[in-house]
């Protein structure tokens, strides 16, 4: 692809070759001289106090530089809490006191000349504790739940109420009153978290595997009591994140503290086991759902009460009710959110936080209601199609869900679905079809970019966003090349460094919407500046010295006027072994509308990745926490199951393109998370269609179907 017209072209990822040939350097691979290795030490009780620490044997071991614990850690401003401001700044465990709030909490760091020596030393530090009783059992702790009252992510109300739900429930022709449950789902990107910290005098440089270099910088500066200007954070490639790397978790300041302590650059890489607890997870949800409808298939009432778990040290909410509020027309609706505090690590965003868990409940409930009303579940969605946002009573900036339904249903062949469960079979396998609606809000934050043309005719775009594996570098170059009418080879994108203009966290499906818009605006402004210099065509411009513009792009008042969301529809076929209960997803067809599709290839990868993630949530993922010790039990990939290739079927993805002038200058809505939404619901519905068994608690493992 050398011709302009890059947007919309299925360009292969520009970083693909670097990655498959091992040339892309991830944080732990950055070569640094004189590096020391740190290993994080974790608590082995679920709550209580450390009463004694004996580090003598560890300190005497070969190659050991320091054992840092609450006994000798550098004191931090506000006991290490100065940076608290979610989502980037969290309640961390930075060795400022002896309290233990969960099993696996960071309680020390061993630093040595080699990784092996550090690891060995870590195992030699002796801790004595005074243990306190723990709460880790979600069901047993439900009685202690309390309503969440603050705004959700600073914007949405904690609870909503429209119409008269109780009256509508009483009068309904058909109603359902059930509880859905989702387990703690621990993100496991292929690259575990990693940080390298090095001091030069009072200046700190940190290489970090993160979704948010500016967030990490703020947390480090505030936590350590130094100025933000004294901290540089670099993150060239992040090997997957899914939300887990949106915050600067304890290991990041701990690496900086260790580097200061030993006077050498320090690398701290988490082990796979350490991914369970200290760096977030999707919390438990218990979702009480009441739904009712008339014989005509009109929804008359919904009540969705979600209780999710959080830690003892911080409130974090999984907003599972958000999608319920806007997805279908329903005049009488109540939603609310509640929390339970457990002795676990603090939860955090996990791909489509809220929408993924919430649409499992909502889309299952729609299916269950359809069965009670004897209406095709797809038809039930159509009859309750929301022509405007039913909660905020605003028009949609654009909505192509009807078209998504049509395309996906046709490609799947839904019209041939027999209405009754257990009516299709293939040998030992019962076959079932299920569907669900997918949805994710368009989110956007202020972003900035520099566009700079040098005398060699090349253009460099600079923005402190991140390549977390989604194809950001590729689409940013496409956007800039198009705006400048340049071949893509003449555009370079530089990212992942706080020396570059500030950009938001790469989360919430908002990198294309935010950074993409800033890049577009910067490229356009560069073009204008070149025109003023007499170069009408950037391709032939020969500037004598570098020409540079710096632009910002931020949301305006569009959110007050419009409700802005991406939508999609997913249809799946499952096979369930009639005697052995094994569930396999056989095929899936989805159609999605997310505004303009910048690159169908990377877009499709995002959707497929989301659906695979959803298969994991539906059938496999479940973090087991021992109720006596609070310890993460299956904290390894052998028993924390994620889908392998053999679990992933043919996935047919279509896009319904939209021309949405309202959302942002690029007209994009973001596709990083919508693929994950609706998947668990569609699979649970298909399992019901195959077997007649309704599973309301994820994951749908075979023991639930025997």
């Amino acid at each position: 692809m050398t011709e302009p017209g890059h947007i919309g072209a299925p360009l292969t990822r520009l970083d693909g070759r670097l990655k498959v040939t091992g040339q892309a350097k991830f944080t732990a691979e950055v070569p640094i001289d004189h590096l020391a290795y740190a290993v994080m030490i974790q608590s082995t009780i679920g709550a209580g106090r450390i009463t004694r620490i004996d580090a003598r044997e560890a300190e005497a071991a070969d190659g050991v530089l320091a054992i840092i614990t609450a006994d000798n850690a550098m004191p931090l401003p506000e006991k290490g809490r100065a940076a608290f401001s979610p989502p980037a700044g969290r309640m961390l465990s930075l060795l400022q006191d002896y309290d233990v709030h969960y099993n696996g909490q960071p309680i020390g760091v061993a630093v040595a000349d080699s990784f092996e020596q550090a690891r060995y030393a870590a195992s030699l530090v002796r801790y004595e504790y005074e243990a306190a009783p723990i709460d880790v059992d979600m069901e047993a702790s439900l009685a202690k739940s309390y309503p969440y009252t603050r705004k959700i992510l600073g914007r949405d109300p904690a609870s909503t109420c429209r119409g008269d739900v109780s009256a509508a429930l009483r009068q309904a022709a058909a109603r359902l009153d059930v509880v859905y449950r989702t387990p703690v789902e621990t993100h496991n990107p292929i690259e575990p978290h990693a940080t390298i910290a090095m001091w030069e005098g009072d200046r700190l440089t940190v290489y970090d595997s993160t979704q948010f270099v500016y967030g990490v910088r703020r947390v480090l500066a505030k936590t350590l009591g130094i100025s933000e200007e004294a901290v540089r954070v670099v993150s060239r490639f992040t090997g997957g994140a899914f939300g887990s790397k949106g915050a600067a978790w304890s290991h990041v300041p701990l690496a900086a503290m260790a580097a200061k302590h030993v006077g050498r650059p320090v690398k701290l890489v988490l082990t796979r086991r350490q991914m369970f607890g200290p760096v977030g997870a999707r919390p438990h949800t218990v979702q009480h759902f009441e739904i009712a409808g008339g014989r005509d298939g009109q929804l008359t009432a919904m009540r969705h009460v979600t209780t999710s778990s959080t830690s003892k040290i911080e409130e974090w909410l999984e907003p599972s009710t958000l999608a319920t509020r806007m997805l279908y027309r329903c005049d009488n609706q109540e939603t609310s959110q509640h929390l339970v505090r457990l002795n676990t690590g603090t939860p955090t965003f996990n791909r489509a936080p809220g929408e993924a868990s919430g649409t499992f409940a909502l889309e299952s409930a729609m299916d269950e209601l359809a069965a009670r009303l004897d209406i095709d579940p797809f038809e039930l969605r159509l009859r309750n199609y929301a022509e405007e946002d039913p909660e905020e009573h605003k028009p949609w900036s654009s909505k192509s869900l009807r078209e998504c339904y049509r395309v996906a249903a046709e490609r799947f062949g839904w019209a041939k679905r027999p209405p009754n469960p257990r009516s299709m079979r293939d040998g030992d396998w019962l076959i079932g079809w299920g569907m669900a609606t997918a949805t994710y809000p368009m989110k956007r934050m202020p972003a900035s970019a520099i566009a700079r043309m040098t005398p060699d005719g090349l253009v460099e775009i600079r923005a402190a966003t991140h390549e977390i594996g989604t194809g950001t570098i590729t689409i940013m170059q496409q956007i800039a090349a198009d705006a400048l009418d340049l071949p893509i080879e003449r555009v370079r994108f530089t990212h992942g460094d706080t020396d570059l203009p500030q950009n938001p966290i790469s989360a919430g499906s908002m990198t294309a919407t935010s950074t993409g818009s800033a890049v577009l605006v910067a490229a356009r402004e560069l073009r204008e500046k070149l025109r003023q210099l007499g170069f009408d065509n950037p391709a032939t411009a020969r500037v004598t010295e570098a020409v540079e513009v710096r632009s910002e792009s931020k949301p305006g008042k569009e959110r007050e006027q419009y409700s802005m969301h991406a939508f999609g529809a997913l249809f799946v076929e499952v096979a369930v072994d009639a005697e052995l209960g094994m569930v396999r997803v056989r095929r899936a067809a989805g159609a999605y509308s997310g505004g303009r599709i910048l690159n169908p290839k990377t877009a499709r990868s995002q959707i497929i990745g989301g659906i695979v993630y959803g298969i994991g949530a539906a059938l496999l993922e479940d973090t087991h926490i021992d109720r006596r010790s609070g310890r993460y039990v299956n904290a390894e990939l052998d028993e924390y199951h994620l889908p392998v290739n053999a679990d992933v079927p043919e996935i047919d993805v279509s896009f319904v393109e939209e021309d949405d002038p309202h959302v942002n200058p690029l007209g994009v809505k973001g596709l990083g998370e919508i693929g994950m939404t609706g998947v668990a619901g569609a699979i649970a519905n298909a399992v019901y269609h195959a077997t007649g068994v309704r599973v309301r608690d994820l994951p749908i493992t075979l023991d639930k179907l025997l």
Partner: protein
């Protein structure tokens, strides 16, 4: 990882001597169990003796149509060996149902027999575990025990033996040949592994300093009609929840002989002679298979999260017998 001394053995005698000289030494074969557990501090050998130079890497025919499998034959090579595929499909299938291609390329026949429990409490040294530290208690007994055993357990340990290969070998009456300072001896595979009783740290009859040199599989003509069915949580690359290795000798619809072993549900590869004899001279039908399955699981004891395994194992066995009977 604890510091250790590394030695490479040039010969079998050398290996045996290097190991015997140090009570905390371990052989290193494919390393897929040993190195993994060393990283978790579960295994803390003072000396590691590499046996990858030994020439125990062949599969040879022995008298009457049996096979002698060298201890260092890799799981991939064994699974794809033409004679194994032809004479003992159950063994090939069991191997291919285990782990992943990369692991099977490393894993060896001897190492596979000696792989250790997958119990998560065993693998995390922060927990009490009688297998790791005798007398410290069993965290799984009243903990999360969905993957644990229902057969052959004790109050001291309920971990399953995780090998798929060993289940097939148990059904095939394989013999383990071992060599120590005092010479060679043989141990029938069904006796090779020990049930936990009150010493779950004692897992096999192998003595310290003994090297497995081969596994012999005797001839069994009707093993051509053998197969392995494995049930797991995902389509591939997961340990067994329940499995069945079966071989049937069916003539004119009547079962003349049967070999049955179960995996994923027991503390050792679980041969079920009662179920086998119940099938002999009966017609190969669902009723007979159902009776055999009841007998096979008759002693099962469920814990909090693994009761489903009892029913699952029965159904898995019935499925395996039904399929085996249908093989022409």
């Amino acid at each position: 990882m604890y510091p250790f001394q590394f030695e490479s053995a040039a010969s079998e005698q050398d290996a045996i001597a290097l190991l015997g000289a140090n009570p905390d030494a371990r052989f290193l074969a494919g390393g897929t169990t040993l190195v993994d557990l060393m990283k978790h501090d579960v295994e803390r050998p003072a000396r590691v003796v590499d046996i990858n130079q030994l020439s125990l890497t062949t599969v040879e025919e022995i008298d009457g149509g049996g096979l002698r499998i060298g201890a260092m034959v890799r799981n991939s090579d064994l699974a794809n060996h033409p004679l194994v595929r032809e004479r003992y499909p159950v063994l090939s299938q069991a191997l291919l149902a285990g782990a992943s291609p990369q692991l099977r390329n490393m894993a060896t026949t001897g190492g596979n027999l000696l792989q250790r429990a997958r119990c998560q409490y065993f693998r995390d040294v922060a927990n009490a575990c009688n297998k790791r530290e005798p007398g410290s208690g069993c965290s799984a007994l009243h903990g999360i025990n969905r993957i644990h055993a229902v057969l052959g357990t004790s109050e001291q340990c309920i971990a399953t033996h995780p090998s798929d290969m060993a289940v097939a070998l148990a059904a095939l009456d394989a013999i383990v040949r071992v060599r120590g300072a005092g010479g060679e001896r043989t141990i029938p595979l069904v006796d090779f592994h020990l049930m936990p009783h009150d010493r779950p740290d004692r897992e096999t009859r192998l003595e310290h300093g003994e090297l497995i040199v081969s596994v012999d599989v005797p001839p069994l003509p009707f093993a051509k009609r053998s197969l392995y069915i494995k049930v797991r949580d995902r389509a591939s690359y997961a340990f067994t929840l329940a499995s069945a290795a079966v071989a049937l000798d069916v003539r004119d619809g009547v079962i003349r002989a049967a070999r049955i072993a179960l995996g994923g549900v027991a503390t050792k590869p679980w041969r079920v002679p009662d179920a086998e004899s119940a099938l002999e001279n009966t017609s190969a039908d669902g009723a007979a298979f159902g009776r055999a399955a009841e007998l096979a699981l008759s002693g099962a004891v469920a814990r909090e999260h693994n009761a489903f395994k009892i029913e699952l194992a029965k159904r898995t066995l019935i499925r395996a017998l039904t399929r085996a009977a249908a093989i022409a």
